[in-house]
């Protein structure tokens, strides 16, 4: 067991060494256009600057982590450069480096979105995860998975709905949502007459999305649910998602 684990480790290390040895010509190369760029010892503003590369020299970009880029100079010095300095560099074609950044101006063109929200579902605690795909700037389809944790029952729901963002170019933008799905309820065993059940659920709701920065958004949502029960009367449940975090890609 331990031997096989060691073997795996050796293979992993060998593979990574191989990857490191791989010719730099596969990696993007850039030309320094600023008077100089500063190489930090780590991907953070506090890490010390230990090297500078002057204008006119070329470096290769190894990888990116958040807003920091690991580069290697032709003298094999490796360090981390901040995004703002990378923006002033040139590609081999002479054009400024294009980082394909999702900024607020083009975030509408991003089609996929995902995130997590927390709130209250008819008095029970709610944890919600969602993923969406936008057909157009305004309209998207969204799948939501809810985990409902209450004092008397637990459950979950999966819903599919449409979401219409009224003015997507606004930083704070309201939206409308409508959909349907299934809800599973599992009453706590201490209650009499308890029975697991799966019902259909429909909802109508609205919310606000707030563009935070880069590819991130905050969201807050209210849904009015109707649970189509097998009993005589349908159940209506208020669902508040106080705060959620979303990112698009």
């Amino acid at each position: 067991m331990i031997r096989s684990l060691l073997l795996v480790l050796v293979v992993v290390f060998a593979a990574s060494a191989q990857a490191g040895d791989k010719a730099d010509d596969k990696l993007p190369k850039i030309l320094i256009a600023d008077p100089y760029i500063e190489l930090h010892s780590g991907p953070g503003r506090g890490f010390p600057i230990f090297h500078v590369v002057e204008r006119g020299q070329e470096v290769v970009i190894i990888k990116r982590r958040t807003d920091w880029f690991e580069v290697r100079t032709d003298r094999d010095v490796q360090g981390w450069v901040e995004r703002s300095q990378m923006l002033a560099t040139l590609e081999p074609t002479g054009e400024p480096l294009d980082l394909h950044e999702p900024a607020r101006e083009n975030y509408m063109s991003r089609r996929w979105q995902g995130g997590v929200m927390a709130g209250d579902f008819g008095g029970a605690s709610l944890i919600s995860a969602f993923g969406g795909y936008a057909f157009s700037d305004n309209l998207s389809i969204e799948l939501t998975l809810n985990h409902i944790l209450g004092e008397f029952s637990n459950g979950g729901s999966a819903t599919l709905g449409l979401m219409h963002v009224f003015v997507p170019e606004w930083r704070l933008s309201p939206y409308f949502t409508l959909g349907t799905g299934v809800i599973y309820t599992d009453p706590k065993s201490t209650l009499v007459k308890s029975e697991d059940r799966t019902d259909q659920i429909g909802y109508v709701g609205g919310g606000l999305q707030f563009y935070l920065t880069r590819r991130f958004m905050l969201r807050s949502e209210y849904r009015h649910n109707v649970i189509f029960t097998h009993r005589d009367a349908n159940e209506e449940v208020k669902e508040w998602k106080y705060l959620g975090f979303a990112f698009f890609f």
Binding site: G42, R45, K63, R64, R65, A118, S189
Partner: protein, 239 residues
């Protein structure tokens, strides 16, 4: 409309029959460029100019367009890893816990993480003392949880090992929400804690974490808040 449509059709037919003939007759290859539209050639034919049309230009530069392929910058904002440690389950002894972790680094300061852990509860002191009275069945002693958390790299830095080695590190604070499945029940769980991370290489991190999982339970008859403390050691890889 009808008449002009017919005329157009006729002209096109005339042009298509006349033009190849012109080309065959003329042999005058340095003439005007290819007629852009059949209508234009039709008028040409009708006007009887009969200019020859070349098959191809004299100078045909065989220059291929340079395809500029921009290599993609590999970004490593995700982390995936495993951990193992000890979880103290209130009233039910301490046991080994193991789990998996997926994290997304939003910025150099903040990250999101999802963890999924598994442990097993022991016996309460009452069960041990009484000898036979079992509060929970065997399967109810399985303890699983998940947590969705946000973290803040409060104290980033470097650690120095000897004279030549420096490793990036960070002390971070984490808080989150999630659910705990224990004793046949799911409970909404709030968690919080701190951790310390060292990166032996650029793509790998070793973590030490301490977490407190807090939830309500009425398992022992009376409703109360439990605090389950966990300490674990983990390894994660950036991708």
């Amino acid at each position: 409309m009808e008449v002009s449509g017919l005329r157009l059709l006729f002209l096109i037919a005339a042009a298509s029959s006349a033009l190849p003939g012109c080309a065959w007759l003329g042999g005058n290859r340095e003439a005007a460029p290819e007629p852009p539209q059949p209508i234009a050639s039709a008028t040409q034919a009708a006007a009887g100019t009969g200019k020859a049309t070349p098959d191809r230009p004299i100078i045909d530069p065989q220059v291929e367009r340079r395809v500029i392929k921009r290599p993609k910058i590999e970004s490593e904002d995700f982390e995936i890893g495993l951990y193992g440690g000890i979880l103290s389950i209130e009233d039910f002894e301490s046991h080994a816990v193991y789990g998996a972790r997926l994290a997304y680094n939003l910025t150099e300061d903040f990250f999101l993480e999802g963890t999924l852990g598994r442990s097993r509860a022991g016996r309460t002191s009452y069960e041990t003392l009484s000898g036979s009275a079992e509060i929970l069945t065997d399967s109810q002693r399985d303890y699983t949880y998940y947590a969705l958390s946000a973290g803040w790299n409060a104290l980033p830095g470097e650690v120095f090992v000897g004279k030549d080695r420096a490793y990036n590190s960070a002390f971070y604070l984490v808080t989150g929400i999630g659910s705990t499945r224990f004793a046949g029940d799911d409970a909404f769980t709030v968690s919080g804690g701190f951790g310390y991370r060292i990166l032996p290489t650029d793509w790998m991190a070793v973590h030490f974490d301490v977490r407190d999982y807090v939830f309500d339970t009425d398992l022992l008859g009376k409703k109360k808040i439990v605090n389950n403390l966990e300490a674990h050691l983990g390894l994660s890889v950036f991708f």
